[in-house]
Symmetry: C2
Subunit: 397 residues, 2 copies
């Protein structure tokens, strides 16, 4: 189908605008160069080789993955310097060891002494070391803490209280003495080395606008750097990295003092990121193409051939336009979905069915591109509406 128009695709179909992907990737590369910080892009949004090539500028080096399946997939395709940014799972230690022994640089992450014990029980062959990042929780959990507040916060981080429950999932608290003890234990362990300290300012996800994003970015950066100072005071030096697409789309100056950043979603962006203020809707590189397959005048609704298998259930209740933005039709709402059907109705007024004949195309901009991409076994790539080919993501764990 190469060279054909998007309208030649059967629907639903995830389509990727490769020019926007390249632009988003290039901007992040340049932003990090200007800042003087190493970019280690996250692969979890797309999980494809082609997009990873674009994000790494063709180097196939220095990436983050969310699953071991991704790590193996990229290793099999010549990628190296891979950070598996997931609290090292006890059932996967042997597979992690195999990758550590096979690649130049495979890196794992942990936040608990028991995980360190697991690594020590499986020394690597050929004198190799486990490369370990310590996962740091930069205090975002304090909204649910029962103890006393352990650090001071700026006013703009009010959103942290709201978003904590959604976005902060792992890590040892930066203010917990256990964090330093664990870093020290990693350093002292036989066959293991502390490669870095990894924090994720996922609490940027409920920010609105650059000012709030940068306040959270600043806070996470400062807390991470303070933690690095604590380590330095006891003679430990290693890398530091913070992540999240919002903070890396609008970095603060102090992020230059970090070793790395690890955003991922920015290569596609989505409606959520545009609402946060990470990007404009213009920058979103993915769409789900769908067709009108039913008219329901007695309900003032249309049916489309995109159900939750085509766009995911992410974003419920978040948008006035429902589960997605319907491009060019601001008065339409994707109200609800079943497995293979979407129900669309006007936000106000009666539907003019003559505008939406059966078989006509609609274009959905996803609320959350990670969740939408996950539903598709293949992505259709185009440049200016002409199909170029397909990208096939990896799946599973």
């Amino acid at each position: 189908m190469e060279g054909e128009l998007l309208s030649a695709l059967c629907t639903p179909a995830l389509v990727v605008d490769v020019d926007k992907v390249k632009r988003n990737a290039q901007r992040m590369i340049e932003r990090c160069q200007e800042l003087g910080v190493q970019l280690r892009p996250h692969m979890k949004t797309h999980k494809t080789i082609e997009c990873a090539d674009i994000m790494t500028g063709g180097s196939r080096r220095s990436i983050v993955v969310s699953t071991l399946a991704e790590a193996c997939f990229y290793a099999d395709h010549g990628f190296d310097d891979i950070l598996y940014a997931y609290s090292v799972p006890f059932d996967k230690v042997e597979r992690c060891a195999a990758l550590s022994e096979r690649l130049d640089l495979f890196q794992v992450l942990l936040d608990h002494p028991d995980a360190l014990e697991q690594l020590k029980k499986r020394p690597l062959r050929d004198g190799r070391q486990w490369h370990v990042w310590l996962k740091l929780d930069c205090g975002n959990g304090r909204g649910k803490q029962t103890g006393k507040a352990r650090c001071s916060w700026s006013s703009a981080t009010a959103c942290v209280l709201i978003t904590f429950l959604l976005f902060v999932v792992a890590g040892v608290l930066h203010s917990d003495p256990e964090a330093v003890r664990l870093a020290q234990a990693i350093t002292e362990a036989e066959g293991v080395q502390l490669t870095g300290v990894y924090a994720h300012c996922g609490n940027t996800y409920n920010c609105k606008g650059v000012e709030q994003i940068q306040a959270v970015a600043q806070e996470t950066t400062s807390l991470t750097l303070q933690f690095m100072e604590k380590l330095k005071a006891i003679g430990i030096t290693c890398k530091s990295s913070i992540g999240s697409t919002p903070s890396c789309s609008h970095p603060v100056k102090d992020m230059a003092q970090l070793s790395e950043v690890h955003p991922g979603n920015y290569v596609f962006y989505d409606v959520q990121q545009s609402l946060i203020g990470s990007c404009s809707l213009e920058d979103v590189a993915v769409r789900v193409l769908t067709r009108v397959i039913g008219h329901c005048p007695h309900r003032n609704q249309l049916l489309i051939d995109c159900g939750w298998t085509g766009i995911s259930l992410d974003g419920a209740g978040k948008l006035p336009t429902g589960y997605a933005v319907i491009e060019g039709h601001p008065n339409l709402k994707l109200l609800s979905m079943t497995q293979e059907h979407g129900r669309v109705e006007p936000i106000s007024g009666p539907l003019d069915y003559s505008k939406y004949p059966l078989g006509s195309l609609l274009t959905l901009i996803p609320y959350h591109s990670c969740a939408t991409a996950m539903m598709h076994p293949v992505y259709h790539v185009h440049s200016e509406g002409r199909l170029l080919g397909k990208w096939t993501p990896t799946r599973g764990w």
Copy 2:
């Protein structure tokens, strides 16, 4: 890994209890035999060859699918008499024609005269006929109708009002004169034949208990049979079929007058079906295995390695235990998820972390097995906890 225990699996993993699958399938086969109605099982929940074999008793005949990808997948594996129960999509007419010319019996569905025109524009080769089912909406949409009520309803269908928005998506209204006209047009069209009338009592999905399920099943059956009488009065005879796992798990006597039924979810069942009253929780044949990967005592929470990629976001707000039932731990709640993490907390009281060491297994019973299965590229099949092998579903459209 054949013969190994489930605990040998890396997590998250979808596991299927093949004995329960066989029992659920056999009960439905027997229920339909007793009723004297043809069972045409729906494949959309699992999308695998192995499970289709069990549901068809090995015949590989008489199935329903929700996507054309499923239709092709089953056709490629020797299945026939396939009903693609989806308003015939205009972009897929040629692919439908190819299947119609290749199989003994490939059947499509429509609910609009424009779709009939599409079929007429593509006459089948070798004197073959398009086999068409008319999709009937059995009036469940009246909760949103602005016109007068067009039929009478029993009290037990109060739930219809609530559930209409979720479950009724396609079909021409049974009471609309257009429905009979369309049936007639299909009958009269060159190269096309009316095979049957297809209704889906998806509004059983918000029922609670057998009485409500049977009231909706009775209503849908009665309306479908009344419609068949209308057709008969103008000299049209064809098959009739209604679906939904709740109604077919507790059929009413009058369903014997239908030609077919087309349930699907029953082969796995899920928490949703147990709440409806279709089955007991004991009957649910699928689980997601997950492991504890984090302790968050400052939040009184556990982290597990199952995020929304492992169980889906379906069921939000539906259960006191969150997105799933955590088997054997009625006081635990799957509160929220990110892409690869689940956050678990007690419904009340403090967590006893000694019960949940890092690496320990938890078992999630999915709220909606169709949505959960969709997230997994492979299902791990076991009998009494011993692995037997893997089933690989088809995906896409």
